[in-house]
């Protein structure tokens, strides 16, 4: 009897603890949020996009019922871009067919909910590869072009350069073909348009050849990085992709880096390496290590040391472009209640890099932020998108923070991020918009001076503001003044 009492008490206690541990709003399955788990809200309904006619009717119904419509891909944006309180969420992930592949002209047409992984699986056998995308391949094409994403490729600019054309379902129910020659005004608006100009139905993308790269990792002091990149990486046309990391380990905090270059290699046939890798190795130990990185200073040091050793050890490894463009991500998945890993990204003009890193380091230290890692990418100047983040050649510093979701934790994060954004803006830099909306309205306007045009055009193409999301509400200000 005593044993039974102990056993059942244990089970009940475990359940009660778990109940309270998971009772925060970010864990509520009846609320909608995004990858950040910030600001969960109740929506009217989530509708899976399936057919074009269904989507047209959906917009009609929404207009009639005076409901707002938000568009969602994989919901990896983190600032409420994919939902709006009491609105309809159109989930595009099931709208993901590959429509056609033009091998001769290296183009592919896909429905917007297709992910990069879907595309890689479709084109790899033809020796073709994606031109520009994020490091991971889990995102949808619609979500990626709506934020004008960028990645490791340093030769092709941001995503907008690899979009040939797309079809856009507008607020009035019309479908427009958009390209540089047709309805050209909409091209730089809806690309980087955060779902505010219409539902992107299908997209034709420009592809590249799959290639074989040798991957090499070099470590250096942060102070040498700009010179290294400009003289040894940028000038070497065989280096096609590049990514670097800055140390967040206590002993070398922001002063050490390693850079990974993907250099064209002809020593072996591509076919030997072109089979797509499907499994992510070492997820469980990786997850454990990353948890140590989150929790302890020594964990950060351990992670940095192991990472540096691992990548240096792997130097010389050969990898196909398609395989290089499917970075591991599962080990970073984090769903613990009450805190979340949030990204912030700053675009800094090349010459200002060192100076900015130092200024940011001071803020991270004095505010005691839990900075988990920083990756650095290079983005070419690209003024095409109306909300362009790369007004000149920039380094993008992608910072991952572990942040408490409590209101106190959030307001602390907000004021810290605002200090960092000020440092970026004062050096001619910008910040990336798909992430949590910590920056103030004034900072948004300073970083994106074309905001007026953007919001004016939004109202011109969608006067009833049918397409709505939390990001728009936060930054449209008092309408398009």
């Amino acid at each position: 009897m005593a044993k039974k009492t102990i056993a059942i008490t244990l089970l009940i206690a475990l359940s009660v603890i778990t109940y309270f541990r998971t009772s925060s709003a970010d864990q509520n399955p009846y609320l909608v949020t995004d990858y950040s788990r910030l600001h969960p809200v109740k929506v009217e309904r989530v509708v899976k996009g399936k057919e074009e006619t269904q989507l047209i009717h959906l917009l009609q119904d929404a207009r009639k019922q005076h409901l707002k419509v938000s568009i969602a891909g994989q919901r990896h944006s983190q600032g409420g871009h994919t939902y709006y309180k009491d609105g309809i969420v159109v989930d595009m992930t099931g709208y993901n067919r590959i429509l056609s592949i033009d091998r001769e002209h290296k183009k592919i047409t896909v429905q917007a909910g297709a992910t990069w992984e879907d595309i890689q699986e479709a084109v790899n056998r033809y020796g073709l590869a994606v031109r520009t995308m994020q490091s991971q391949n889990t995102f949808t094409v619609g979500g990626s072009i709506s934020v004008n994403a960028h990645g490791r490729d340093i030769r092709n600019g941001s995503m907008i350069k690899s979009v040939d054309s797309f079809r856009l379902l507008m607020a009035d129910g019309q479908i427009k073909q958009v390209s540089h020659s047709e309805n050209a005004e909409l091209f730089p608006l809806a690309l980087g348009g955060y779902g505010l100009f219409g539902i992107i139905l299908d997209v034709t993308l420009l592809l590249d050849d799959d290639e074989l790269y040798s991957v090499n990792t070099e470590t250096m002091p942060t102070a040498d990085y700009v010179r290294y990149f400009m003289q040894e990486v940028k000038t070497n046309p065989d280096i096609r992709m590049h990514i670097a990391r800055i140390s967040v380990s206590r002993g070398s905090f922001l002063t050490e880096m390693f850079a990974k270059n993907y250099t064209l290699d002809h020593s072996e046939p591509l076919e030997k390496y072109s089979k797509l890798t499907v499994r992510e190795p070492w997820t469980a130990p990786g997850k454990l290590l990353f948890q140590l990185n989150r929790s302890f200073d020594w964990g950060k040091t351990l992670t940095w040391d192991l990472q540096t050793a691992f990548f240096t050890e792997e130097s010389g490894e050969l990898i196909s472009r398609n395989n290089a463009m499917r970075a591991a991500w599962q080990f970073m998945e984090y769903d613990q209640p009450d805190s979340s890993d949030l990204l912030q990204e700053y675009f800094i003009p090349v010459r200002q890099f060192d100076d900015f890193v130092e200024a940011m380091g001071k803020i991270v230290r004095s505010e005691n932020l839990n900075l988990l890692n920083i990756t650095v990418r290079y983005v070419n100047e690209d003024n095409e998108a109306v909300l362009s983040y790369a007004k000149q050649d920039m380094f993008a510093l992608v910072c991952l923070f572990n942040v408490p979701l409590s209101s106190k934790g959030q307001s602390h994060m907000e004021q810290s991020v605002r200090q960092i954004v000020d440092e970026a803006i004062s050096r001619g830099g910008t910040y990336y918009l798909p992430y949590a909306g910590y920056p103030s309205l004034e900072q948004f306007r300073a970083a994106y001076p074309e905001y007026r045009l953007f919001f004016q055009k939004k109202l011109q193409y969608d006067p009833g503001e049918l397409f709505m999301n939390t990001f728009y509400e936060q930054y449209k200000g008092g309408g398009a003044e």
């Binding site: 039974k4 056993a7 059942i8 244990l10 089970l11 475990l14 359940s15 778990t18 499907v278 997820t283 469980a284 997850k287 454990l288 948890q291 599962q330 769903d335 613990q336």
Partner: protein, 194 residues
């Protein structure tokens, strides 16, 4: 004594299965994109379980303990295999295997439970049996959730395999205890006769 080993071993079985089962369902659902495909995986399980039960039935009284061991080992193999599965047809094969294990386990546990108890005095034993196996699966499922949160579902599969191995060992212990008893009894009979 044997009843308590039966309860121990089967509590381990429910621990192992309870830990993985709800998450396994999610895992399967993620494989097939339609519910009917998902239903099919389960139908396959029941088909093999039902068919094999007819072959097992006449052998049950003699071999129930061995069947329990075979079932635990089979489940262990399935758990070790799942993380490596890359095609739906292999999932179906594993469902077949698990159907067979299920028939062996369910039939033997009932048979042994009846053997180890006497008519008119089963209530308490069955109550015990139910209590421990249920609490074991309850604890398992909560801990399983934490384990996936912190690590991965694959680790949970491996962990479950380990517990299945432990349950096989517990049945083997029970078998040994049974044999011990049989030989004591045989000796007693001998001495009475002699």
């Amino acid at each position: 004594m044997n009843l308590s080993w039966l309860i121990r071993s089967q509590s381990l079985v429910t621990l192992a299965s309870g830990m993985i089962y709800p998450y396994y369902l999610l895992f399967l659902k993620n494989l097939g994109n339609s519910y009917s495909k998902y239903g099919l995986a389960f139908a396959v399980f029941t088909i093999s379980s039902a068919l094999v039960s007819q072959w097992l039935a006449p052998r049950l009284d003699r071999y129930s303990q061995r069947m329990l061991i075979a079932s635990s080992m089979g489940m262990m193999a399935a758990m070790l295999a799942f993380p490596w599965v890359m095609s739906y047809s292999v999932v179906l094969l594993l469902q077949l295997l698990m159907g067979i294990c299920n028939a062996m386990q369910k039939m033997s546990e009932r048979q042994l439970l009846a053997d180890y108890t006497i008519p008119g005095g089963r209530g308490a034993a069955i109550g015990n049996y139910h209590f421990w196996t249920t609490v074991a699966s309850g604890i398992a499922v909560v801990l399983g959730g934490y384990l996936i949160d912190w690590l991965t579902i694959n680790v949970l599969f491996y962990f479950s395999a380990l517990v299945y191995a432990a349950s096989a060992w517990a049945v083997w212990r029970m078998q040994k205890a049974d044999r011990g008893k049989e030989s004591v009894q045989a000796q007693k009979t001998k001495s009475v006769n002699g």
